[in-house]
Structures are given as structure tokens and as C-alpha cells.
């Protein structure tokens, strides 16, 4: 309980950094040994007293950095570690993907970006070099504000009660998501879904342009749809 006790007291104490250090060592060891490693193995590998190792493991499980598997004796890295992974830059999309996105850009007046979805997380895979994103950090954080985020939210709330109202209903009815004025009062964004063979939402091709164009995209929508259809098999 060393971490817990220290956290309850104001200020840093001499013991706290050591406890945190030990916790990270345990986390590191689970990553090194792979899923299914047991508490006994961890305490033996780290030459840490068993009671200490078990306490740290249970604390990490409480905080969901670690997860107990199947029969409860084995550990694996949990979803909190996955959240830390937001920090890791996604790999650059393949040449084939970049060629298709560039082709769409050549036909469209405005910023064309490619965003990928992993679970409920949005990541920009290919930003338009000529029309940069105004606030990429807010885009990935505040999903309700952006068209790319709204598309993801609408998809995840498809079966929920909220599906009958607000932007979720609009997006589901339209088949693509739209946002105007959230980042720039005169501009907006339109996100067209890219789906894999099973119809699962994997990415979005988005157009950022003046509000007028976003509200009446006309044949631009055909360009986006065409691009999205060709990107689907490459991104799933």
C-alpha cells in the first residue's frame, strides 16, 4: 500500500519514488516475460520479497495497468498501458495508401486528411501538407468537436439510446459526419467512412473546406466516396 499511502499525503516523501520505481520495474518485467507470467516468477526474477511483489502487482491490477488472466494466476499488460500508447506515433501509411490520398487531393480544393481508428481512439495517419490541421491535439481529444470524431462516436453509439438524437442520428442518417465552425468559424469538415470487408469502420477520409462547400459538397462527395472505396482493402 506504499503508493496509496504516499498518494494520500501532500508533497513528495522519500519512500514514494522508490515505490514508484519498483512498480515500474514490475510493469517492465510483465512486458518482458509476456502475458501469463505469474506473481511468483516476477518476485523471483526481480529478487523482490514476495509480499512486496504481490502487493505491487495487486496495486497495478487495481489501477488497471495489469490484468489477471484466466485462472487469475497469470498477468498481462492492461488497458491503461494501452492508453499510454497514445504517445507512440503510428506507423506511416503504406505507399499505396498515400498514392490514393494524393490522388483525391489533386481533385479537391481543400484539406484532405486520412484518420485511422483503433477502438475508440482517433489518430491522424496522413495530414494534408498544403492545408495543415488547425488543432490536431484537440481533434484527437475532443471527439464531439470534429467530423472525424463524430463519425467514430456515431458508429460506437449506433445501438445505444442516444442513436435517435443529435449528431449521432444525423451522421447515421447521412452516412458521413459533418462539423462546421468548431475549429474555425468560416470553415468546416466532412468525414467519409472507410470500411473493411466486414463493414467495420477502420478509418475516415476527411475534407476540410469553407462552410459553404462542406454543407453542399456536390461532386466532391463522389471523389471522397471513390477514394474511401479504394482505401478500404488497404487499411483493414
Amino acid at each position: 500500500m506504499a503508493i496509496e499511502r504516499a498518494a494520500a499525503e501532500p508533497g513528495l516523501h522519500a519512500r514514494q519514488p522508490r515505490a514508484i520505481h519498483s512498480a515500474f520495474t514490475v510493469l517492465e518485467e510483465v512486458a518482458l516475460c509476456g502475458p501469463g507470467v505469474t506473481a511468483r516468477e516476477i518476485s523471483a526474477n526481480l529478487r523482490m520479497p514476495r509480499a512486496t511483489a504481490y502487493r505491487l502487482l495487486n496495486l497495478l491490477v487495481q489501477e488497471e495497468y495489469l490484468v489477471r488472466l484466466g485462472d487469475l494466476s497469470g498477468f498481462a499488460l492492461g488497458r491503461k498501458v494501452a492508453e499510454l500508447a497514445h504517445l507512440v506515433t503510428p506507423a506511416r501509411p503504406s505507399q499505396a495508401v498515400r498514392t490514393i490520398v494524393s490522388a483525391v487531393r489533386a481533385h479537391v480544393r481543400g484539406g484532405v486528411h486520412l484518420a485511422g481508428y483503433a477502438g475508440s481512439v482517433l489518430r491522424i495517419l496522413d495530414e494534408d501538407p498544403d492545408f495543415g490541421l488547425s488543432d490536431a491535439a484537440r481533434l484527437t481529444r475532443d471527439l464531439e468537436a470534429s467530423a472525424m470524431g463524430r463519425l467514430l462516436l456515431a458508429e460506437s453509439r449506433r445501438d445505444a439510446l442516444a442513436a435517435s438524437e443529435g449528431f449521432v442520428a444525423e451522421t447515421l442518417a447521412r452516412g458521413f459526419a459533418v462539423q462546421t465552425g468548431a475549429f474555425d468559424p468560416a470553415r468546416g469538415c466532412l468525414a467519409y467512412p472507410i470500411r473493411d470487408g466486414d463493414g467495420r469502420l477502420v478509418a475516415a477520409l476527411s475534407l476540410c473546406a469553407p462552410t459553404e462547400l462542406v454543407e453542399h459538397p456536390g461532386r466532391l462527395l463522389d471523389e471522397l466516396r471513390d477514394g474511401a472505396t479504394r482505401l478500404g482493402p488497404l487499411l483493414s
Binding site: A76, V81, H86, V88, S156
Partner: protein, 510 residues
């Protein structure tokens, strides 16, 4: 951070994870710490117990009631800490039943499960009857001219409260826990206010409670501590919310420990206030019919009696809701496993509660106390019998859980010295207390409470044996808990889909 960074960048696939928890259908990870705490606190109903237990305890213990309550608190803490060896590692709806299954196997789990069902069901009946009893008090206080039969009025109140309880339970876990949180917080605040008022107005006498201990009587002390432990039972009930709680491995154990500490401190305070109160007024608690009301009247605050009745009634109602919440979740677990009919293991598609289990359990919990009230001929008399069955059921389940904990820890390779010691001390102390309590009660006029418990336990064991013979595969099905699902684990979902998060998780329950 090499290994960690590598694991994040290229998660190693984890095989064999289900996409859904075996307990899917409940509102998974939806209630926070306050709700989890409310569940445990309400099941104990400290506000209600704070004004009954001290009188019961001081009636047998005389001067040693404070040490007796302190001893009960220590034993309850050891038990809670042992049960937390499970709650820190396993999220289940079956509470102690599931824990014992994972430690000792099927047969002891059935005994623990029956004990727990008896405990939750009879404490819910006790609480409904008690809430009805105090509501009758309130009605006669507010309408003294209305000449109603208190017994029939009490029975009618029990039925009404039972229906309300069912509606709260069926509408969703958040509603149940919010109602209990609000109600219990109000009653505890009222009781604490009264305790502080009594002690503060007689501040000079408080040191004497500690500094001048009365002569120590070992036997009276043991009986009193046993009575006191019955005031703690129910603290583990938040373990039944393992699936529905957010961060269950942190919140459930914390709620259990806090509940024991909070109730213990409240009982110590209430006992001190009563000792001081009777000492100052010169009243005799043994001859007083309604000690709390007499005390309030003697202190010149007769309205306090009214406040007390309200807070005890509400506390007992919260207890009924909380105990039924736990009861239906244990039934739900047994339904999922196949021990009970599978329909009990289904959930309401919209409210995501164990709806069928509620439909089955609540009428029983409501009708039995009504029948007992009519048969015995009084609400209070019926309550004193119901509490015997409840306490015996709980303590049986606690003892088995304490025995199971070290075995469970050994099985997963995490046994150390301290958990073994505390489990052993708690198991021995609880067993001694249970035997003492049942022997004591089997001699009096409530003996049929004890025999009723033995009969119910025997019937339950016979049923589960019969069930096992017909369904041998149950041996492998007992003890379901909330497995880590693919979305919980780094590398659980292949390719780029591994960052499972809230919108996705909440949908998984449907």
C-alpha cells in the same frame, strides 16, 4: 523502458480471451466508489443497528460493552481483510459463494452459497419488517387518534415497502445504489448528530468511560462480542457488485474496509452516548421499553425520538434494498452456472439488471415476513427470529470464506504469512462466536429460529446434491467470475484494434 515500449509498439497477441465476460448482460463497470460503498454500508444498516445493538450488548455485557464492541470490530476487520484477498483479485456477482468455489471447490461453495442466500434473504426480510415497524411508530405518532391494529398496519407497510424495493432493484443498479446512498447517508448523519449532542453536553463524563473500566466478566464479554458481530454482517455485500463497479479491484476492497471501520466507530460512539446518557439520567436500560426514546425524553428533546424513528426506518429500508441487490446477484450467478434454472441468469435488456432473479426473490422476501408477523403476532417478535437466521447464514459463509482464502492464494501461488494468520484468527473466532450464538439462542423462546436455519441449510444442501447428481458438469461450471475480456488486455484484440475504450466497452454488455 525497452520491454515496455516494445510491448506497446507491438503488442504480443494474448490467446484465448473471450470477447464477452461470462457475466455479460449486467451494466459492466458502471457504478463508482460512492455507490459501491453505499451498497456495503446499507447492507450493514449502521444507523439502524447503532440504536439496537448497544442496548442488546449492554443488556448482557453490563459494563464491558465497549470492549466487547471493540473486539467485534477487530474480528470484523480481520474477516473483511481476508475477504479482500478475493475482491482484490476477482470480480464476481456471487460474492462469497464464488470465492469459496475458487478456494475450496464445489461442495463447500454450495454450503457457503446457501448460507449467503439465507443471510441476504433473511436480513432483507428483517429490514423490511423493521422498516414497517418503525413506520407504524411514525404513523401512530403523527395520527394518534387513528385506532389501527399495529400488527396489520405493520404487515401492510412491509408489502408496500417490498413493492418499492422491487421497483428500485429492477430499474437499474445505479438507481438502487443512489437510493441507498442518499437514504443511508441521511440516517447516519442524524445518528452522528445525536451522539455528538449527548456526548458534548456531558463532556466531563467521557474520560471515565476509558479510565475507569468496570470489572471484567469473560463469559458476558464473549456473548456480548458475538451479539456485536451480528451488527457488522453485510459488509461484504459490495463484492456482489464486482462486475458492475468501476475499477472493482480498488473500489470493492476499499468499500468493504471502510464499511467495517465506519460502522464500528458509529457503534462505539452510540454505546458511549448511551452509557453516558443512562448514567446521567439515572434510568435503567434493562427496564426501559424504548431506551432511545426514553433517553431523548429525559434529555428534554422529545422530538429527537421522532428523528430517530425516521432515520432507523430509512436505514432499514436501505438495508432491504442493498441486501436484495446482493441476493439477486448471487441467484443470478447460480442461474448463469446452471445450478439454478437458467432464466435466473438472464438480465433485463434495457436496465441491465438480473430482472428474473428479482421477480422471483422479492415476493418471497416480502411475503415471508408478513406471514411470520401474522403467525407470531407481532412485528418485533418476528424480527428477533429473522435476525437469528440471517446472522447464522452470514457467519457460516464468512467462516468458509476465511478458510477458502489461504487455499485460493496457495492455488494461484500468492500465499504469504500474514493472510494465512489473519484468515486463521478470523475463522476460529467466527466459528466460536457462531457456536456460542446458536447455543445461546437455541435455549430461549426463539429456538425455532435456530432450528429453522438448520432445516433450511439441510434442504439447500439436499437440493444442491440432487442437482449435482443430475448435472455432473456443474463441477466445472461453478464459480464464474468476470474474466478479463479481449478489450481489457494489451494485445487482446489483434491488429490495430487493440485500444479498447469506453464506448466500445459499454456496448459489450448488450
Amino acid at each position: 523502458m525497452d520491454a515496455l515500449a516494445r510491448a506497446i509498439a507491438r503488442p504480443e497477441p494474448v490467446e484465448g480471451l473471450a470477447a464477452r465476460s461470462p457475466l455479460a448482460g449486467l451494466a459492466r463497470r458502471s457504478v463508482g466508489f460512492a455507490d459501491v460503498l453505499a451498497q456495503s454500508v446499507s447492507a450493514v444498516a449502521p444507523a439502524g443497528a447503532a440504536f439496537t445493538t448497544p442496548f442488546l450488548v449492554s443488556a448482557v455485557a453490563g459494563g464491558v460493552s465497549l470492549p466487547a464492541i471493540a473486539a467485534a470490530l477487530v474480528i470484523a476487520l480481520l474477516t473483511a481483510s481476508t475477504i479482500n484477498e478475493f475482491t482484490r483479485r476477482m470480480a464476481a456477482t456471487g460474492s462469497l459463494y464464488t470465492f469459496v468455489a475458487r478456494g475450496l471447490g464445489t461442495a463447500p461453495a454450495f454450503v457457503a452459497g446457501i448460507g449467503l442466500l439465507i443471510g441476504y434473504a433473511f436480513i432483507a426480510m428483517f429490514a423490511l419488517a423493521g422498516a414497517g415497524y418503525y413506520m407504524v411508530f411514525l404513523v401512530t405518532r403523527l395520527m394518534p387518534e387513528a385506532s389501527l391494529d399495529p400488527m396489520l398496519l405493520g404487515a401492510a407497510a412491509v408489502v408496500v415497502l417490498g413493492v418499492v424495493c422491487f421497483l428500485v432493484l429492477a430499474r437499474g443498479i445505479r438507481l438502487s445504489t443512489r437510493v441507498t446512498l442518499l437514504v443511508e447517508a441521511t440516517s447516519v448523519a442524524l445518528i452522528v448528530g445525536l451522539i455528538v449532542a449527548v456526548l458534548a453536553s456531558n463532556a466531563g463524563r467521557v474520560p471515565a468511560l476509558v479510565l475507569e473500566p468496570p470489572p471484567f466478566d469473560v463469559q458476558a464479554f464473549a456473548v456480548a462480542a458475538t451479539l456485536a458481530i451480528t451488527a457488522f454482517v453485510g459488509f461484504e455485500s459490495s463484492a456482489a457488485l464486482g462486475v458492475e463497479a468501476k475499477r472493482p479491484f480498488a473500489n470493492v476492497p476499499r468499500a468493504i474496509t471502510w464499511t467495517v471501520l465506519l460502522s464500528g466507530l458509529l457503534y462505539l460512539g452510540a454505546t458511549s452516548a448511551q452509557i453516558v446518557g443512562f448514567d446521567v439520567t439515572g434510568l435503567d436500560p434493562a427496564t426501559s421499553a424504548s431506551p432511545a426514546n426514553d433517553l431523548a425524553a429525559a434529555f428534554g428533546v422529545p422530538w429527537a425520538g421522532f428523528v430517530l424513528d425516521v432515520s432507523i426506518a430509512t436505514s432499514l429500508f436501505a438495508c432491504a434494498v442493498a441486501s436484495s441487490t446482493a441476493l439477486v446477484r448471487v441467484l443470478f450467478s447460480m442461474g448463469r452456472e446452471g445450478l439454478l434454472p437458467a432464466s435466473l441468469g438472464t438480465t433485463h435488456p434495457r436496465h441491465r439488471t438480473p430482472f428474473v432473479a428479482s421477480v422471483v426473490a422479492l415476493p418471497v422476501v416480502t411475503v415471508v415476513p408478513v406471514l411470520m408477523i401474522v403467525a407470531i403476532g407481532g412485528v418485533w417478535a418476528a424480527m428477533t427470529v429473522l435476525i437469528i437466521l440471517a446472522a447464522a447464514g452470514y457467519i457460516l459463509a464468512y467462516v468458509l470464506a476465511c478458510v477458502a482464502a489461504p487455499v485460493f492464494l496457495y492455488r494461484i501461488g500468492e500465499l504469504t504469512a500474514w493472510p494465512l494468520v489473519k484468515a486463521a484468527v478470523a475463522a476460529v473466532a467466527l466459528t466460536g462466536m457462531a457456536v456460542l450464538y446458536l447455543v445461546e439462542e437455541s435455549g430461549g423462546d426463539r429456538a425455532f429460529g435456530v432450528s429453522g436455519f438448520v432445516v433450511l441449510l439441510a434442504v439447500g444442501i439436499a437440493f444442491t446434491r440432487e442437482r449435482m447428481l443430475r448435472r455432473p458438469w456443474l463441477r466445472h461450471a461453478i464459480g464464474v467470475y468476470d474474466h478479463a475480456v479481449a478489450g481489457d488486455v494489451l494485445g487482446g484484440i489483434p491488429a490495430a484494434e487493440w485500444v479498447g475504450e469506453e464506448p466500445d466497452r459499454s456496448r459489450r454488455g448488450d
